[in-house]
Amino acid sequence: MSGAVAGVDPERWEVVIGLEVHAELATRTKLFSSATAEFGGEPNTHIDPLTLGLPGSLPVLNAHAVELAVRVGLALHCTVQRSVFARKNYFYPDQPKNYQISQYDLPINADGWLELPSGQRVGIERAHLEEDTGKSTHVGGGGRIHDARYSLVDLNRAGVPLLEIVGRPDLRTPEEARAYVSELRAVLVAVGASDGKMEEGSLRVDCNVSVRPRGTEELGTRCEIKNINSLRSLGRAIVAEAARQVDLIEAGERVVQETRHWNEDDGRTHTLRSKEEADDYRYFPDPDLVEVDPDPAWVEQIRASLPVLPAERRHRLAERTGASGETVALVVERGLDDLCLAAIDAGADPARTLTHAEHNLSDERSRDLDPAAFAALVRMEVDGQLTATQAKTVLAELVDSGGDPAAIAAERGFEAMDTSELEGLVDDLIAAHPAEWQRFCEGDGKITGFFVGQVMQATRGQADGKAVTALLAARRG
């Protein structure tokens, strides 16, 4: 791991990154009331007395939210434990109760890890349940908060269940941070806990960044960056914030612990508020709610119902095929690993199978490919009945409309070219292009492509490029 961050001298500085991810849980209703938790809708139509914080309304916990939280916790190798809901007190119009119900000292999930495609394990401190807030729109002053004349509040989202997943500061580069979020999203989707849509805000990332002299252990003062709306922004925000902190320290100043706002337009982070003042949330156990203490037998039942997770799928595919980590990660990300394994079971060559999955099966419908047909195609190719190019064409048609690869090949007139036919073609070409042949004989490797191209043109792509190259070499002697 290089540990390099653009613009920061890697010899002198180490960047330390920890992410807090808020995932909206895929329940039908809110965390503590029966208003719909659906995304969008006309403003203030997903409301009930609790959402509005009306006097006398009482929260009752959504059983499905608990189950989804436990599913994620187990997938992240956390300890599922007795937990308590607490009030986080602050005033803001997007949550009319004037407190957010969250979990504080006793979260439902504690102490786990997430394994990235690189094999790196990132620690998970906790994953706890809490309520989402409503949305406010600032009117006047061009929509900028500080110049707004007034704000409009829509409470549809207020009370939607969130799982806040707090990662340990184990990340060192923007690439690792992005890989962490992608992997976490894949896990959330795999266990059915969230749709993982960053663009709809169902997955939101806050990023803690600090820097320290390389080789030292003590963590530097961190800043928390908010308003990160995409994986690309996440990477850019880390680079900008790390450079800002290094510049400060090198100029003899110090980093102040605060929350900063990422601005996509100017590519910088800006002070939002200082932590010291705003952070006095006066947490205390919510007297309206009782403890959640999941029955161990129920937790085991949930564990048994979890699907095979991405990390295990990568291990399984790598073991079976011996393919590189990147190829395996891509194939699993596309959800093609089951297809590949089934095709290999049906006799397909593992390496060719994965090459197709990596390069020729980016279409989403590829997952529905018939493994037997896929295997038959790979066998035809390995047996020399189809060239790589022809196999790719047949595969595209299999994805489009299914069918039998042999029949598709025959329909297209794809037949293995007879060696003597190919030899004749190559000899004719050599005779017709003496200057090019001279260059080839003198060792000009680039001219090989010319001959292969001519043969492909003459055969309308049916020749096997590798066979042509071999023939040329043989003719040169």
Partner: protein, 105 residues
């Protein structure tokens, strides 16, 4: 409770800070009165802290029940127009509130 003991647990400055966080405006007389009251409450907590509670599980709730859950079934929403008609100000189906400085914590 004498003043010295009260002052040792909480002072007027701390009470003023808590009041500010709770969006309460207190005059000097109130500040003094609530400083005493809060100190009394803290003294009561200190009495409990002084007990030997070795081996006693902390309680998060006075009633010893756990796992009160409801099924994830949608219920009927409130009528928006009726709700907004009771708000101090509304616009475009939304609550209209004074300009907010800064973002939600």
């Amino acid at each position: 409770m004498d003043d010295a003991a009260a002052g040792s647990r909480i002072d007027a400055e701390q009470v003023a800070k808590v009041a500010a966080l709770a969006r309460l405006r207190l005059d000097d007389g109130e500040l003094e009165r609530f400083t005493h009251q809060l100190a009394d409450i803290l003294d009561h907590a200190a009495d409990i802290e002084a007990l030997d509670l070795e081996g006693v599980e902390p309680m998060a709730h006075p009633v010893r029940i756990v796992n009160v859950l409801r099924a994830d079934e949608p219920g009927a929403p409130l009528d928006r127009d009726e709700v907004l008609s009771q708000a101090p100000a509304a616009e475009d189906g939304q609550f209209r509130v004074p300009p907010v400085l800064g973002e939600a914590p």
